[in-house]
Amino acid sequence: MKRKPIIVFSILVVFIVLVLLISLQSGTFQMTPAEAFKTIIGQGSDQQELVLFEFRLPRMVLAILIGAGLAVSGAILQSISRNDLADPGILGINAGAGFAVVLFIYLFQGSYQNLGGSVYILPMFAFLGALTAAALIYSLAYKKGITPVRLVLVGIGINAGFSALLIIMQLRMSPNDFMQATVWLSGNIWGANWSSVLAILPWIAILIPLVIRQANTLNVMRIGDESAVGVGISLERSRLLLLFLAVALAGASVAAGGAIAFLGLVAPHIARRIVGPRHQLMIPTAALIGSLILLFADYIARNMLAPSEIPVGIVVAIIGAPYFLYLLIKTP
C-alpha cells in the first residue's frame, strides 16, 4: 500500500502542525484559541507571550527534534541489523547515553535543571556513552561478521548491564538527585528551553541528511550481506559509518530528552508500512512519524494529569510496548 510520497509528507506535516497548534493552546495556563492566535501574531499580553514562546514552543520543537532523531536512529539500526526489533532503546545505546549523562551530572555535581553552559556539552557526553555501548555491542556480537540475532541479543545484555550500572550510580546520589535522575531517565522534556533546543538542533539537522545520503547503502544492506558485497559495497565500513550515525542521533536525543523507549522501534515500522522499504522515502517518513508521535505523547503527558506531568517516555512506552509485543509475536 505505497502512496505518493509527496502526499504522505504533506499529510504528516499537516498533522504535525495541527498537533502543534492544539498543544500550543492547551495547558494549565488558560488560553483560548483566539488568544493563542493573537499571541502568535504578536498581539498577546506579556504573560501569554511568555507561556507560548518560552514555555510551550521550545518543548514542542524539542519533541519534534528528538522524535525525528530517535526514529531515524531506529530505522538505521533495523536496516543494518536486518532485525525489526532493533532500536536504540532495546540495544542499550540509550542506556549507554543515559549512563554517561548521569555520570556527568554525578561527577560535576550539577543539578538537572540549571546546568548552564553544560547544556551544550551534555550531548557530546551522551554521544560518548552511546558510542561506548555501541562499541561494546559491536565487538561482543562480532563473530566473522555480525549476525542480526546476535546483535539484538548482545544489545539486550548490554542494556541490562548499563541499567544496572545506572542503578548503582543512582544509589550513590542524594535522594533528590536520585528522584530527578529517575524521572529524567524515564524520558521527559520538562524544562525545555531554547538553549536545549539549540544544543540538539545541529545534531539532528546535520546527521539526518547524512543518513538520507546513505539511503542506497541501507537499501542494499537490508536485503542481505551477500547482495551488498555483490554490488560492491564495502560492507563493514558502511555498517560502521551508519552505526556511528545512529549512535550519534540516539546520543543527542537522549541527552535532550532522556531515554525514551520504543519510539525508534515503532516509527520506522509505521513508515515502512506507508511508503515501503526504500530508505530514500522511509527515512524522512520515519522522522516525521517520530516527531508526530512524540509531539502527541508530550501533549498527553502535559495534560492528562495536569498540572502534574507524566514523563513523556512513559506515554510513548504505553503506546509502544503493545506494538513491540505484537511484533515479537509476529516475528518468525
Binding site: 495547558g27 494549565t28 495556563f29 488558560q30 504573560q47 511568555l50 507561556v51 518560552e54 514555555f55 543539578s111 538537572y112 535543571q113 540549571n114 544509589l171 535522594p175 533528590n176 538527585d177 536520585f178 528522584m179 530527578q180 529517575t182 524521572v183 520538562w190 524544562g191 528551553n193 538553549s195 495536569a306 498540572p307 502534574s308 506531568e309
Partner: protein
Amino acid sequence: MKKIYPYTLALATTAMLLTACGDQEDTDNNTANGEADETVEESDDADDSDSEAGGTEKTVTDGYGNEVTVPSSPERIIAPYLEDPLLTIGLEPIVQWSVNNGASVQDYLADELGDLPYIDYQLPLESVMEADPDFIVVPDEGTLGSGDYNQYSQMAPTYVMDSETGEDWRATLLEMGSLFDRDEEAETALEEYDAYVEEVKQELNDTVGDDKVAVVWLINGAYFVVAPNIASGAVLFEDLELETANAIAELPEDPDHWNELSLEAFANLDADYLFLVNGDEDSVESLTTEDVWSTIPAVEKDQVIEIADDSSWLYNGYQANRQTIEEVHEQMISE
C-alpha cells in the same frame, strides 16, 4: 525548616516507584497548632509589610549567585516548602506545596494554609504563571523542577537558597527574615523557641530523666528510625537532649534521614519511650502483632505513644518543631 526530600516523597506517592529505595518519604503531618501563632499572626502581615518594608525594592544575591530584585513589599509570594518560615515571619503565601494535587500537603500547617490553592512540588511553569506571583523563593534549585531559572525569573523575581541553608531550618528562617526585611520576627521566633526548648527540657529532666527514647516511622510495612539530626529526631535528641535508644545511638556518623529497622533490631531495642509515627494502620498493626513487640521496654512500661501521620514529626521548622515539642510535652509530662 529542613527539607525532607519532597521529591522522594512525591514520587513514592505518585508512582509508587520508590518503595524500595530506603530513604523515603515523608508525608504527613500536622496537628492543629494552636499556639505557634503567639509570635506570628498571619492576619496582620499584609499591613505590616506595608508599614515596615514600605521602602523601596532591593537587590540581593541568592544562593546561586543570581541577582534578585526583591519588591518592596511582595504580596503574592510563592514559597514552596518554605511555608513554615514564611508564616513564622508573618507572611502568607498564595499557594501551598503539594504532591499530586493535594494528595499530600504539609498537613501540620493546615490551620494556617487551609484552603490555599495547591502548587505541585515540581513547580510547573504554567501553574506558577497561573498563580501570578510577584516573588518566588525556593529552598534549593532542585525545587525549580519544571524549567530553568530564567524561565521562572521571567515570571517573577526568583530567589534560590543555597541548599545548605535550605536544609537548616534556623538558617532558613533567618535568611527569610532578612529577605523580607523581617529579621526581627525571625530572631524573636528563634529566641522564643530556644526559651521554650529550655523550659520543656527542664521538665523532661525531672520526669523522664535518662530514660531512652526512639521515634519510629511506620509506613508501607517498613519501619524507619528517625535519625537524631532530622525532623522530630533533631527536636527530641538535639534540642530536648533526650537519651537516644540504642537503635539510634548506633547509627553511623552521618546517617540517612530515615533508617530502616529490621525486626531483629526491634528485639534489641532498649527504648523506654517509643513514639510511633503512624504512616498507615496496616504497618502499625503488623508491627504490634509481632512477637518481638512485647519485649520492647516501652511496651512493657506502657509508654508507647502513637503520633498521627498528619503531625509535624517528619518536618523541621519553627512551626513544626514547636508542635512536636508540644506533643512531647503533652505525652511525656502532662499525663
